[in-house]
């Protein structure tokens, strides 16, 4: 018997218009389908990985889930509450704002250059939790300590901090609010490997210590595998595969996932025999709704793939794959 999920996302879509509406024939403006019909759940205490290549919509999805932008369609239920009814601009002062937080990709850029490390952490606490004075200081102190930020760094500006330190500030800022859901948008992408490990370990520790659920967005499969319980693989705005992280990477069912996993360089120098995924993704602008998005790059695609968009099908081990030809392997 499963618990009710912390986050339940159903049929979420995000489309951006590009250019202007044509004034000649009244044809609607072309749309970028950044996120298309995405449904997923996050259980309490779970870490869900979101992987895919650049432009697959994972960051857009992260922003939608973090309530930084409004979805075009679909629902986001957080702890039983429907959030899409409230526009993102109003959500800023919502009590639930503190419960969903996000750590941004570039920690350096996500700290106001005019804020010290202390200001950056204290700002949200002050605004969302109403702390001030010594109470605020105590809260910041606690968050900083949790993230391993020594007091000596508090008065530094972002450009005076190292990459690892900035990442810690970014994490401390988010966890200071004690969120229930923390979205991590490529938190280690800008870091060297030697520092990356410590941040990953920090995140792992915080998760258990504070009981937070993570949505971990990354393009680095090796990192995702380390941290995530389950993983969602996206391609051109759609989910192509979902399943437990280890299982998906060990035995990918979708041809895209297979190609992706095979392309990751390995320390042991063993090169995968799986053929390379050549070519480029199709355009995300007004894609054919009846064709598999991966068609054209897919090594096994047939005419069927241009006639019907494959839906996510369930497979054993709580796995789901959106491919006409996926078989249990």
């Amino acid at each position: 018997m499963e618990h009710p999920p912390l986050l339940d996302v159903a049929e979420l879509c995000k489309r951006f218009p590009i250019g202007r509406r044509s004034w000649r024939k009244g044809t609607p403006a072309p749309m970028v389908h950044a996120v298309d019909d995405v449904s997923l759940v996050v259980q309490r205490g779970e870490t869900l990985g979101l992987v895919g290549e650049s432009g697959c919509g994972k960051s857009t999805l992260a922003r939608l889930l973090a309530r930084l932008s409004d979805a075009t369609e679909g629902s986001i239920r957080f702890a039983g509450r429907e959030l899409t009814e409230l526009p993102a601009s109003k959500f800023a002062r919502d009590p639930d704002r503190a419960r969903i937080q996000i750590v941004f990709q570039d920690a350096g850029e996500s700290i106001n250059p005019r804020f010290t490390a202390y200001d950056a952490i204290a700002d949200a606490l002050h605004h969302l939790k109403g702390f001030s004075g010594s109470a605020l200081r105590a809260q910041v102190d606690e968050a900083a300590e949790l993230c391993g930020l020594p007091l000596a760094l508090w008065e530094r500006f972002p450009h005076q901090l190292s990459g690892g330190q900035r990442a810690r500030v970014g994490i401390a800022r988010a966890i200071a609010l004690r969120p229930e859901l923390l979205i991590l948008d490529e938190p280690t992408a800008a870091l060297d490997v030697s520092v990356q490990v410590t941040i990953l370990k920090l995140l792992e520790r915080l998760k258990t210590q504070l009981g937070i659920s993570y949505i971990f967005v990354s393009h680095d499969l090796n990192v995702v595998r380390l941290l995530c319980d389950r993983v969602v693989v996206m391609y051109l705005g759609r989910i192509v595969e979902v399943g437990p992280a280890q299982a998906v990477f060990d035995a990918p069912l979708h041809p895209y996932t297979r190609g992706l996993v095979a392309a990751v360089p390995r320390l042991d120098g063993v090169r995968s025999a799986t053929p390379r995924l050549s070519g480029d993704p199709r355009s995300p602008i007004d894609p054919d709704p009846n064709a598999c998005r991966f068609h054209g790059r897919c090594p096994i695609g047939t005419d069927r793939c241009t006639a019907a968009m494959p839906a996510l099908r369930s497979f054993p081990d709580r796995r789901e794959v959106a491919c006409h030809f996926a078989v249990e392997g």
Partner: protein, 284 residues
């Protein structure tokens, strides 16, 4: 403390590294002193005529010579600093407030705010700016506040442009998102996060437009739409002296003109230097 020390060190570096900026800074201080203490420093009464001493060439007694009415040009040029720099500063402050905010809002909110501010800017830009300033002053009367207003209005598009561009690049910056998830609403983000960040560039802009504002006010005076006589003002003094250049009394126009030029020069160099301090790579 620490926050201030670094920029100061940087500033010192820029000033010492670039002697031109240091020179401009010294000039700037000189002009500020003239503007503040001018009337008490002037060796002669800038308004007192002495027709017996009219059109005297520069001498030990009259450093810049005397004008048609025998007034001391040095004293007049010195005292004019307050008015000219004052007009420029007031107009720059005004346009900074108006144009800065309009550009900020337009860059941040986009949509119809942007369209509205954009149209307003376009309209102003479509005017030949100096003629617009002339028309405004002519229509509203040639008083100091109207000169300030006219100068501010013609600079409006420039400020909108700078503020808007800077805001647009920062609107999607990580720290804006961070502020949103920290519970700031749009206005809070705009005023509390974005604005302080574009401030330094706007200050540079102010320094650069100060020079232009002085030129503009002087240009209006030259045409005859400036402040009222016998108030000393650089543009008027040049205009008055213009007819004397050809007859050999070059100092009547030259010294006020040179003072005007040096003041504008100083503000421009200073703006350049400030830009170096704010952002060394963006020197244009």
């Amino acid at each position: 403390m620490k926050g201030l020390a670094a920029p100061l060190r940087h500033a010192r570096f820029v000033v010492t590294e670039n002697p031109v900026t240091g020179f401009a800074l010294a000039l700037f201080i000189l002009f500020i002193v003239a503007a503040v203490f001018g009337p008490s420093l002037a060796p002669h009464d800038p308004l007192a005529s002495n027709t017996a001493q009219a059109l005297q060439p520069p001498s030990g007694q009259y450093w810049f010579g005397t004008d048609q009415l025998g007034r001391d040009i040095f004293s007049r040029a010195l005292v004019a600093a307050r008015l000219d720099i004052g007009i420029a500063a007031a107009s720059v402050a005004l346009v900074f407030a108006m144009g800065g905010f309009a550009g900020l809002a337009s860059g941040f909110f986009g949509g119809w705010t942007d369209a509205l501010v954009g149209r307003l800017s376009d309209t102003i830009m479509a005017f030949p700016l100096f003629v617009l300033a002339m028309a405004i002053v002519a229509a509203l009367g040639n008083t100091v506040p109207n000169i300030v207003l006219a100068t501010a209005i013609i600079n409006f598009p420039l400020y909108v442009r700078v503020a808007r561009a800077e805001t647009t690049t920062r609107r999607d910056a990580g720290f804006v998102d961070a502020a949103r998830v920290a519970g700031h609403r749009d206005m809070g983000v705009l005023l509390g996060q974005v604005m302080p960040n574009i401030m330094p560039l706007m200050v540079v802009q102010m320094s650069l437009t100060m020079g232009y504002a002085i030129l503009n006010a002087a240009g209006l005076s030259f045409i005859g739409l400036g402040v009222r006589p016998p108030t000393p003002e650089w543009g008027i003094m040049v205009a008055e002296g213009a007819s004397f250049i050809v007859s050999g009394e070059w100092w009547v126009a030259l010294f006020p003109g040179a003072t005007l030029m040096v003041a504008v020069f100083c503000f421009n160099l200073l703006g350049d230097g400030l830009r170096d301090i704010v952002d060394p790579r963006r020197r244009t």
